[in-house]
């Protein structure tokens, strides 16, 4: 079985891209803010970007080695790259697009992706979801050894996204190809990949399963990236073995984590409860404020109270008769907090 080995050291506009990865028959997602260098990694693997220093090899086949002077052009690397905007050839119909990479498997792929009925259509006539499927089929027509997906869901509207995400997860599980996917959305990454790497300013801050990142974010960046609320403050030992964090925004909160000095206090929205009155429990942090915004997401509601975002069920929100401007108390357990390094 071939493992993709990647080591990169390359200057980008305002920072250096520097990381190492090994990828087996799994899907690894690189998440991070835009401009973090994620797409550059994909382009480097595909051969569209020449690294200043590094090595890219699939098993015994070396695709790039700055020391040995090896740099295979993209057409000689067995990759399938799905571009963010799909890059379908506008002058060719679907069948010819898919066949561009290889003619043997076209019919099979058209069937598998359920686009056989679109074989004669031009990319301009297709919907976003359809285009994505064509792009995938096309990339796979070449029977690549490595699959690279650049923001596969960003070009889709919210509704299609959910559907496609599910389909894509199934597909990746079926293919069992070393797959590297890049996204700025942690939820997409969590749904599609076995391992997630958070990349910021060219370096990987943390690499692990999605659950791991949520349970133990390595620092403030990772925490806020995975969707946590991040409150900055200064920590010192407090009563009952808890750590007290004096929040920059005012007041203090308690955490079961140990830390001292400047910290970020991370708590996930679904760990934040809402009520009309304060709970009576010293191990629970609370914050009084006004509802500044309410967003319905299916049968969940995202409520913003002061610096915190809480996620509660629609039923709870109704019961509390939440509305903008209403006073409410947001609370979260000391055990639900993580103290992470910041700055």
């Amino acid at each position: 079985m071939d493992t993709l080995e990647l080591s990169v050291d390359h200057p980008l506009r305002s920072f250096r891209l520097s990381l190492e990865l090994q990828l087996g028959r799994e899907t690894l997602a690189l998440v991070g803010p835009s401009g973090a260098g994620k797409s550059s990694v994909l382009r480097a693997i595909a051969g569209l970007l020449r690294l200043e220093r590094g090595k890219i090899a699939l098993g015994a086949a070396t695709w790039f080695d700055s020391v040995a002077g090896v740099d295979l052009p993209p057409e000689r690397r067995s990759v399938g790259l799905v571009f963010q905007e799909y890059a379908l050839f506008p002058h060719l119909d679907v069948r010819r697009n898919v066949a561009f990479g290889g003619r043997e498997r076209v019919d099979e792929l058209l069937e598998r992706f359920q686009i056989a009925h679109l074989a004669g259509a031009r990319p301009g006539e297709l919907s976003g979801g359809e285009r994505q499927r064509v792009a995938l089929a096309r990339a796979l027509a070449r029977d690549p050894a490595v699959l690279l997906l650049d923001e596969p869901l960003s070009a889709l509207d919210a509704h299609t996204r959910g559907v496609v995400r599910g389909e894509l997860a199934e597909l990746l599980a079926e293919l069992r190809l070393p797959t590297l996917l890049v996204t700025h959305d942690f939820e997409d990454a969590a749904a599609l990949a076995e391992r997630v790497g958070v990349i910021v300013d060219g370096s990987i801050l943390q690499l692990g399963g999605a659950a791991e990142l949520l349970a133990a974010p390595a620092d403030g960046f990772v925490a806020s990236f995975t969707g946590a609320n991040l409150l900055h403050g200064t920590a010192r030992p407090g009563a009952d073995g808890l750590t007290e964090v004096l929040l920059d925004a005012g007041g203090s909160a308690f955490s079961t984590d140990r830390a001292e000095g400047r910290v970020g206090l991370a708590v996930y929205p679904w760990e934040v409860g809402l009520a009309r009155t304060e709970p009576v429990d010293s191990a629970v942090n609370h914050l009084r404020g006004e509802v500044s915004s309410l967003v319905m997401l299916g049968n969940r509601v995202r409520v913003r109270v002061g610096p915190l975002t809480a996620e509660v069920t629609a039923a709870s929100a109704e019961r509390l008769a939440l509305a903008e401007g209403e006073p409410v108390v947001a609370s979260f357990k000391a055990t639900a907090t993580r103290l992470v390094p910041i700055g």
């Binding site: 057409e75 690397r77 571009f83 050839f89 506008p90 919907s127 285009r131 096309r138 070449r142």
Partner: protein, 274 residues
Amino acid sequence: MSRVFPVLLGAALLVAVAFLALPVIAIFLRVPPGDLLAQLGEERSREALLISLKTSLIAHAVILLVGTPAAYLLANRSFRGRRLVVSLLELPLVLPPAVAGLGLFAAFGRSGLLGGELSALGLELPFTQAAVVLAICFVASPFYLRSALTAFESIDPSLPAAARTLGAGPVRVFARVALPLALGGLGAGSTLAFARGLGEFGATIMFAGSLPGRTQTAPLAIYAAFDDDFDVALALGALLVVVSAALLLAVKLVPSWTRSSSASTTLFAPSASR
């Protein structure tokens, strides 16, 4: 004011159309169609038209064969001095044709820069049909090169990149992706260049001279006929317009998919669901 504005726009358009169409219409009003056909029977006119077509077509083939890859390279590589190269390629556009003629002499004439080398090869260019072809190439190629450059530059770069990740080498990328996508712009530039070449006068008369049956193209023949037989000049002019228009039409009727493909080559591969 808002009522007047559309009227003013319409008036401007009317003036433009009238001004541009009038001289052409006037030619045809003065020449009875019978005369046009009779002119075709005149040896001098026939010769002139044939020389014009022959040299223009040869020159055009050269322009396309050399210009297309050149423009492609220029569009895809950035190198030091690129802007200078582009300016040089556009230079003939701003050069008065007579100066172009002088330049051609200075470069390819007997006592020119390459004169010695050419003579050694047994090639003497001035006053030959080859000289006419050269003159046409010189003045017409910038029109093609500019359009071709723009056409290749406006291809969404992710498309050739995608092609390469799909296993296409540089040749296949050029032939299967870049060329089809740029075809609209290439066609437009080609038409312009051909028309310019067909009407070329100044550089030709200087560098190739004017000899009926050998180097006297249609525009040169019109110039020669202008003084003693205005009607001949007129008829020949009308014939030239007809030929040019026919060619223009032929180019425009190239299957519309070439133009629709370049129209859909907007900045990104289509993603309507944004």
